[in-house]
């Protein structure tokens, strides 16, 4: 029942640049059970997208996985040859990208692109692939009349649905969604998030949902992981993490979201910028911006604080057991 589908162990990723090595992801550990979903939250440049690209093994040319294991169904993806990995992509692990327009080829009909993706990965007849595409359209709430249309004839919301349909095409065990709704209107976003979570739980897929908006994550998943400067600094259930965050960064992130309901509280301002990923500080990466900083935060890496199935790396946690 709670068998882990995906285990990420000590994953670190670097980019080689002219200025030196950028430590985009550092020592990330994460486990996902079948049908479980986790939201990854953090500011731009915290490594959430790099982590996703590393799991798919589609990093840019200057990106390199330095260490770690990504075990999917008992098999370490990082040890596979490229042709072997290509077979896993879309079938075992797939991804919904941020910019839907960039993932659809403008000169081909949307349905044909999905059919092509299916036939690339599975040995099925064109007719079967088309039938499956038709039912995928139904699943994501697209009208069948759109099958024969081109991407430019779609609205932003429809395109995003088509890209989700494509990611689902080969029935993957793990789906990674990288801010798929950021460019969309609230009502459309709401509907797509509802549908996505519904599909995810019905198909018992494991999902990693990436967003900078903690409110969106609260809507799609029960558990949340907070990333800062390439590290996963806190993980726990959304409800407890929201009510009693452990890491000061998590607290700051929560308090900077404008609220519609309840008391109108002043917005929390988080000053400063994330650290330079070329030269990570010795101690805690958040120390320079942290309101609860202590002397040792600047000199020693923070220890793990864990209780009630949640954890964070911090010397001076906001909440303790």
């Amino acid at each position: 029942m709670t068998r882990a589908v995906l285990e990420i162990e000590g994953l670190s990723v670097e980019y080689a640049t002219q200025k030196g090595r950028v430590h985009a992801v550092t020592d990330v550990n994460l486990e996902l059970a079948e049908g479980e979903s986790i939201g990854l939250v953090g500011e731009s440049g915290c490594g959430k997208t790099t982590l996703a690209l590393a799991l798919m093994r589609i990093l840019a040319d200057n990106g390199r996985i330095v260490s770690g294991r990504v075990v999917l169904d008992g098999e370490d993806l990082l040890q596979l040859s490229e042709p072997e990995m290509a077979k896993r992509r879309w079938r075992a692990i797939s991804m919904v990208f941020q910019s839907a327009m960039n993932c659809l080829n403008p000169v081909h009909r949307v349905a044909d692109q999905i059919v092509e993706a299916i036939m690339q990965h599975e040995d099925v007849s064109p007719r079967e692939a088309m039938d499956r595409t038709r039912s995928l359209f139904e699943v994501v709430g697209l009208d069948a009349s759109l099958l024969r249309r081109y991407p430019h004839e779609y609205s932003g919301g429809m395109r995003q649905r088509a890209v989700i349909a494509m990611a689902l095409a080969c029935n993957p065990k793990v789906i990674i969604a990288d801010e798929p709704t950021t460019a969309l209107d609230v009502l459309v976003q709401h509907r797509i998030l509802e549908q996505l979570t519904e599909i995810q739980s019905r198909r018992r897929m494991a999902m990693i949902y990436i967003s900078h908006d903690i409110a969106v994550i609260a809507q799609v998943s029960k558990s949340v992981g907070v990333m800062y400067a390439g590290r996963l600094v806190e993980r726990g259930p959304v409800r407890e993490t929201f009510k009693r965050p452990i890491h000061p960064y998590t607290e700051a992130l929560m308090d900077s979201v404008p609220s519609v309901g309840g008391e109108k509280r002043p917005l929390r301002l988080l000053g400063g910028d994330p650290p330079d990923l070329l030269n990570l500080p010795v101690g805690c990466a958040f120390a320079a911006r942290c309101p609860r900083v202590q002397a040792r935060c600047r000199s020693e890496a923070p220890p793990i604080v864990s209780y009630e199935g949640r954890w964070a790396y911090c010397w001076n946690p906001v909440n303790q057991p």
Partner: protein, 336 residues
């Protein structure tokens, strides 16, 4: 500082029966086949020093409305009056070329995407000084001094470090600060902000919201704030006008509308905003379908197709006009 005119009865901005139609179809020397009703009979007033939020989804006409207020586009019909420095109401359609340029000194716009609104080949100094150059204000040294003081006010400090940078050397939040500084350097009376925070990260967003609030308090301008996010509007706006397909469907005090939305569309919009606290989660209100394009709309309520509370009167009668409810609220709905 300019002399502040007597606080009179004249509102800072008054829009009456604004309408903007865009032709579609048609051909050379042939009348267009139909019209998109981008903004259709919209009226509102913003009192001096207050802020009005125009809230709605893409294509509801909020940006078109805002651009008409700063005279970037001309309305098809209807009138916009602004208060001039003498405290008199002036109609924007009466302004000639020279008067328009003078008007631009008092009305500025902040755009959504700081990656597109800044010229990549211009330094921060040149960008922020541009409005002063266009208006022929000050010598180079005076302009530089004003730019530096404005940069300090919007938090681009230490100023010397940023003065000669190009946009690509700035983060998204810093770029938006440059855009805000450029809009505010002329100390405008009217500021139109078109979703200035929607492209930014959450933590940067709260900083920019706070900056806009601070600058409003300091410079005392009248704000028109365009957003699709009611949560942001809550922090920025005294009043909001919820727009749907070119019409205002509900208008009133921001806090009251958020607490007790009356129009079914407003209710759906508010219930769809993601809330981080799982205990505050309300049940969402379902609306059907998506936003249609308002091409030659049928004479019925614009929200009829999607409304969960629609009845036959909504289909048989034309779009309801705004009517006053308790506490100064205006709502356009037959059933609420």
């Amino acid at each position: 500082m300019n002399a502040i005119p007597e606080p009179g009865q004249v509102p800072a901005v008054k829009a009456e029966h604004l309408r903007k139609l865009y032709p579609v179809g048609g051909a050379f020397l042939r009348a267009p086949r139909s019209f998109i009703h981008a903004v259709d009979d919209v009226s509102f007033t913003v009192e001096d020093g207050k802020s009005l939020g125009l809230v709605g989804e893409s294509g509801c006409g909020k940006t078109t409305t805002a651009k008409m207020v700063v005279k970037l586009i001309e309305p098809t019909s209807g009138e916009i009056q602004v208060r001039d420095s003498g405290g008199r109401a002036v109609s924007l359609s009466d302004l000639d070329g020279r008067a328009t340029k003078r008007f631009r000194r008092s009305a500025q716009m902040i755009y959504q995407d700081p990656y597109e609104s800044l010229n990549p080949r211009r330094t921060v100094l040149d960008t922020i000084a541009e409005p002063l150059v266009v208006q022929g204000m000050g010598t180079f040294a005076e302009r530089e001094e004003r730019v530096m003081s404005m940069m300090a006010q919007v938090g681009l400090t230490p100023v010397r470090n940023y003065l000669l940078r190009f946009p690509h050397e700035l983060s998204g939040g810093q770029r938006q600060r440059v855009a805000i500084a450029r809009a505010l350097i002329l100390a405008p009376k009217i500021v139109v902000a078109d979703e200035p925070t929607s492209m930014l990260d959450v933590s940067v967003r709260s900083n920019i919201i706070q900056l806009m609030l601070d600058m409003r308090d300091r410079l005392g301008a009248t704000y028109l704030y365009i957003t699709h996010d009611v949560a942001v509007a809550r922090y920025m706006c005294d009043q909001i006008a919820v727009m749907y397909l070119g019409k205002i469907v509900e208008m009133g005090s921001t806090e009251e509308i958020l607490r007790d939305p009356v129009h079914p569309y407003t209710q759906a919009l508010i219930s769809a905003v993601p809330v981080p606290d799982p205990e505050q989660r309300k049940s969402s209100i379902a609306v059907k379908g998506g936003v249609a394009r308002p091409i030659d709309p049928l004479p019925r309520c614009r929200f009829y197709d999607r409304c969960p509370a629609a009845t036959s009167v909504c289909e048989e009668s034309d779009h309801p006009s705004l009517s006053a409810r308790n506490g100064g609220r205006m709502v356009a709905c037959y059933n609420r």
